[in-house]
């Protein structure tokens, strides 16, 4: 029996499944936060979630709107100052995986959250780097999740805010004390991984009902597909129920506040 679900739900469930139980995850706000908490509420009850606001090992009952909602602190093991968070916990090597969103991503998984256009005369000014530049290099590895579109998936980002593998795919070569970088990108259409040699993103798994053409049309470069292309497993009923409850709780709480 096939369940009804949206492509957004497919993305969140797939992103959640990327997290293994017991991993320590530095969580970005928005989609990564939704996925990470879904993981915690389903198959990975002991995943450790860290937010850059200083909240260590937090277990929010509702999704935070901001990276520093009170819920994060109240449900945390403890809350440390922000310099400590970046120095001891992230740079200190305690984070297994950094979970990031982005506005733009290119074929080498470089992320742009700074601006569209030219730096001196931007067409669109985006929020900026935030924690991402150092999350991407100091975490053991990086998961990225965002909606698939030609605007977002570009051949070359307008600005490398955050290193994937550099503009030539060699940005991490011979750099000491650096993480593995992006090991998977989860969208509402597919899952991508970097090619082991070139580091170019390659589709490894298509979500149910998504065609190669759908991905090609939504990607700004000539996207490649792995030879053993898989079909992403569907969400389970349990995952969908928990995700929907989480989102409903969240919506109620934010409407009230």
């Amino acid at each position: 029996m096939s369940l009804e679900y949206t492509s957004s739900e497919m993305m969140s469930v797939t992103a959640a499944r990327a997290l293994e139980n017991g991993m320590t995850c530095f969580v970005g706000i928005g989609l990564p936060s939704e996925a990470a908490n879904l993981a915690r509420l389903t198959h990975a009850p002991d995943v450790v979630l860290i937010y850059e606001s200083g909240t260590l090992q937090t277990k929010p009952d509702i999704l935070p709107l901001s990276i520093g909602d009170g819920e994060l602190c109240e449900s945390a093991l403890t809350t440390v100052a922000v310099p400590e968070m970046f120095r001891y916990w992230l740079q200190g090597g305690k984070v297994d995986v950094g979970f990031l969103g982005t506005a733009q991503i290119d074929r080498f998984a470089n992320l742009n959250t700074t601006l569209i256009g030219d730096y001196k005369a931007p067409k669109v000014r985006l929020p900026g780097g935030g924690g991402a530049p150092e999350i991407a290099t100091n975490a053991g590895e990086v998961f990225i999740t965002l909606k698939h579109s030609k605007r977002a998936f570009v051949k070359d980002v307008d600005f490398v805010t955050t290193l994937g593998f550099g503009r030539d795919g060699k940005g991490r070569d011979n750099v000491p004390n650096i993480g593995k970088g992006p090991t998977r990108v989860i969208t509402d259409l597919c899952v991508m991984k970097p090619d082991p040699d070139s580091k170019e993103l390659v589709v490894v798994s298509l979500h149910p009902g998504v065609s190669r053409e759908d991905v090609i049309d939504a990607t700004g470069w000539e996207i490649r597909f792995t030879e053993q292309l898989e079909s992403t497993p569907e969400p389970s009923e349990n995952e969908l129920t928990i995700l929907r409850e989480l989102k409903a709780r969240t919506e109620r709480a934010h409407a009230d506040a």
Partner: protein, 272 residues
């Protein structure tokens, strides 16, 4: 020793036109009441430092207080853009502003270094990022022991830092609790500091390792009840996520913003 002043007098005394000002609070405890007072007093040409400009700097930028903003993430958290910041950067309204942007790690370390009295912060950062190509304050040094290349940024040392906190005792010692951000660092790094608090109490009732800033490390304390709204104060009131969402529409348009400012800041008293 901290002096107890009205918010009006504290801002009048310590926030000078042209000053470098850090108003901190990492989502939590954002000193909105103080920001509004700065707007009301029509302070100009400020260099505003904040990791996350948030709505508070959006309002101050839109009101024309800023000539420069130093930041690391300039969005409306969970909602979208800061339209007043963007309008100033992209279209120069109400005036052209300069921006200098960092990553969070850089700014957190720069606040730490400022509190520590150092001229620079050293950290493992900016690897592969193009931010160093647009920010000449980012340099790299070589570790004399390992040869590793590490990032260096100047420490943050504001003329004045302004934070909001739960409470002060009658000697001016201040308790900050919950998400403490870089607030203590901001105060210690600055030449002068203003702390707005929810209340003054006889006893802070703090645990042995609480984040308490001694009164002698603070210039002025001003009571500002609900002084962090629409941000929040742990133990006192919650965040108005609703206002953060509403801000998007208010700030998107110059006229609706100006109207909001008139109604909610200029016409309002110190307790707005």
């Amino acid at each position: 020793m901290a002096e107890f002043l009205s918010l009006h007098d504290a801002v009048a005394r310590y926030v000078q036109d042209g000053a470098t000002v850090a108003m901190e609070g990492f989502t939590h405890l954002i000193p909105f009441a103080a920001g509004h007072e700065v707007i009301r007093q029509k302070k100009r040409d400020l260099t505003l430092i904040r990791m996350t400009p948030d709505i508070i700097y959006d309002q101050m930028i839109g009101a024309g207080c800023a000539k420069k903003v130093i930041f690391s993430w300039g969005g409306n958290p969970g909602v979208g853009s800061l339209h007043r910041l963007r309008d100033a950067v992209e279209k120069g309204w109400p005036r052209k502003i300069e921006i200098l942007e960092h990553s969070h790690a850089a700014m957190a370390c720069a606040f730490e270094a400022g509190a520590a009295g150092l001229p620079l912060a050293v950290f493992r950062g900016y690897i592969g990022s193009e931010l160093p190509s647009v920010n000449d304050q980012i340099k790299f040094i070589e570790c004399p022991f390992t040869g590793e290349r590490l990032a260096a940024v100047p420490s943050v040392r504001p003329d004045v830092s302004i934070i909001h906190a739960q409470r002060a005792d009658r000697q001016g010692n201040v308790l900050v609790e919950g998400i403490v951000g870089v607030q203590k660092e901001a105060v210690l790094a600055a030449k002068h500091s203003i702390v707005t608090v929810e209340e003054i109490v006889d006893d802070l009732n703090a645990h042995p390792n609480a984040c308490v800033i001694p009164g002698w490390a603070i210039s002025a304390i001003a009571v500002a009840e609900k002084g962090a709204l629409p941000s929040y104060t742990h133990g006192y009131y919650g965040r108005s996520n609703r206002f953060y969402k509403e801000w998007d529409a208010i700030a998107r348009d110059r006229d609706s913003f100006t109207q909001w400012l008139d109604d909610n800041v200029y016409s309002a008293g110190e307790n707005s």
